[in-house]
């Protein structure tokens, strides 16, 4: 059944590419610069598609958009006239109006009565703090667990970690967040209530002082732990699978035959080759986590883009929702492009 394929992965050579390898690389595909350029162009094409979808999606909204937008707000006649021009009239006129500058909507958010991009700007940093920390933590722990589980396949550690990660993989993340919240913020039974119930700062602490940083960290802990746990599961499952894949390769037998210790075989040979799928996944995920943090930020009242989305749904605050949708899509597209370029830089075979 097992047919041994001839194209066994070459053993990792010295870090600096020799002249022979470099020549082969050029023959196999285009240079990295050209590839990156092409990939970016495709990404821009996708962005245009998203912008068009964004327009038509929101124009399918039932009812009079102007009435929806101005309901319960103080709007003078000049503004109404400008809005009518933007929202009513032939579809084509609206589209050209929109397409001229989709990123600098002069239309205010219905809820905040501020330009939408200003509202979004205020909420970007909490999300970056949350998602960034969670990404770093889930990457480190996910990869470590995956490597160890894959390397010692069938061991007790492998069985337990696979069971736990599969379980975490099936958990709705906001439910996990609520469970942690009820356990460590409300305090159930013997569990102490040691963490704040939500938000980013306590009201009575200056966020720039040392005590304020500590306070923010305490607020960050639970939402960050929730996100990290959920994504760690995915990374460790993928890493385990690719370590298993590498484990049966001939070059590891060669490395052992050279007399390398098991630890060195793993660290120097197996892991670097197995990292590729996980790296791709991690970069791809960054874009998705930003939009996926909607529920977590809602549960923990974390003042980021996700919580903003939740508020925008409630209205519905259409201009804000439209801008957020565009932003999230562009984040995913950008992380896609970056993932492809990083992988191409690491592994020239993917460039064809």
């Amino acid at each position: 059944m097992a047919v041994v394929l001839p194209d066994v992965e070459p053993p990792p050579g010295p870090a600096v590419p020799t002249r022979r390898r470099r020549r082969r690389r050029r023959a196999a595909g285009e240079s990295l610069g050209v590839y990156a350029f092409k990939r970016t162009l495709i990404g821009l094409g996708t962005t245009v598609f998203v912008i068009v979808v964004n327009f038509f999606l929101f124009h399918a909204l039932p009812g009079d958009p102007l009435a929806n937008y101005t309901r319960g707000r103080n709007v003078d006649q000049d503004q109404i006239r400008a809005l009518r021009k933007a929202y009513n009239g032939p579809l084509w006129d609206q589209f050209t109006h929109y397409i001229q500058n989709p990123f600098s909507s002069r239309i205010d958010s219905a809820r905040f009565s501020q330009p939408v991009w200003q509202v979004i700007g205020d909420h970007v940093w909490p999300t970056i703090l949350l998602v960034g920390t969670a990404t770093v933590l889930s990457t480190i722990f996910g990869l470590l667990i995956g490597i160890r589980a894959g390397w010692t396949r069938g061991s007790r550690f492998d069985k337990w970690s696979t069971a736990v990660t599969l379980l975490l993989y099936s958990v709705p993340e906001f439910w996990l967040g609520m469970m942690l919240l009820i356990a460590f913020s409300t305090g159930v039974g013997p569990l102490p209530a040691i963490f704040p119930s939500g938000g980013m700062h306590s009201a009575d602490v200056d966020p720039t002082s040392l005590a304020g940083v500590w306070d923010t960290l305490k607020h960050l802990f639970l939402p960050c732990a929730t996100l990290a746990l959920v994504y760690l599961a995915e990374y460790s499952l993928v890493m385990r699978a690719s370590v298993l894949e590498e484990k049966s390769q001939d070059y590891l037998t060669t490395a052992r035959a050279k007399g390398l210790r098991d630890k060195m075989v793993r660290r120097r040979h197996a892991v670097p080759n197995a990292l590729l799928p996980s790296i791709t996944l991690i970069f791809l995920n960054v874009g998705f986590i930003i939009s996926g943090a909607v529920t977590i930020e809602t549960v923990f009242s974390w003042p980021g883009l996700g919580e903003l989305t939740f508020q925008a749904i409630g209205g519905p605050d259409v201009p804000l929702l439209q801008a957020l949708f565009l932003l999230f899509s562009v984040a995913v597209i950008a992380s896609n492009v970056i993932a492809d370029i990083v992988v191409a830089a690491v592994d020239p075979r993917t460039r064809s």
């Binding site: 929101f58 599969l166 379980l167 099936s170 906001f174 439910w175 609520m178 529920t295 749904i313 999230f328």
Partner: protein
Amino acid sequence: MTDIGVPVLRSSRSIAWARRRAAWSRGWAIFRRQRSGVVGVAILVIFVVVAFAAPFIWPASDLDISRATGPILAPPSWSYPFGTDNAGRSVLTLVAWGTRVSLLVGVAATAISMIIGTLVGIASGHYKGLIGASLERLTDWFLVIPFLPLAVVLATILGATLQNVIIVIGITSWPSTARIVRAQTLSVEARPYLERARALGAGDWHQMRRHVLPNVMPLVLANTTLTVAVAILSETTLAFLGLGPSDKVSWGSILEDVFNGAGISQGAWWWLLPPGLCVVVVVLAFTLVGRALEVVVDPRMRGR
């Protein structure tokens, strides 16, 4: 493996059926050997039974807030095994009824996503020119639109009814299926027997229906169970964000009630734990079944 003891054969059709039956029983034998897959099936059977039995055991009137009789936010007791919510309804009744909506949405949305994904995947793999290229582009584009924001926007636009939630999840989750099906279609179409079919004058429709589709179906089936798991998680998320049907109880809507009804600050863990646990167990069961089916479909996965 080769001799399957076929009885007297008359037509090519009966040969095909006998072979298909043999393939299914072989697949079932492989599936049965995987304990986790069997456990997954058992769990799903239990939940399906609960979904069908719920109206007969717990009358629908028990879900009515105005007619609830229990104490408010009572911890588990003999008369209320899972405790009560903030309106005095039994959490057990809510969860049992929630099974119906969650399973229905999961299965129905997956059906939509599978049909679109299979059609687009086969067509984009089969047609070479403009049609294939544009379908492939479309798949790639849909793949990068982040699911949650798109689903949120669609649900806001269409309105929150059961039917719309199914449609929203269905039309946002097809691209990954389409991509898998397309890859398989390309590999099937490269095989000699399709060249033979073409040489004998088979049209596009005949090729796709009689030759490609049967070869793609096992893969779609394995993918289906994984998609159901994702669809159930999506339904829970949408309902939690208040975008589910307001007149139906689902596991997600119970969690929404816990969150909005101050269940967390009251420490009502009995209200929060069961619906989430049900989601986890059902999603896990679908994942286990899906992984077991993947092993059946893909011989390379065996022994992992």
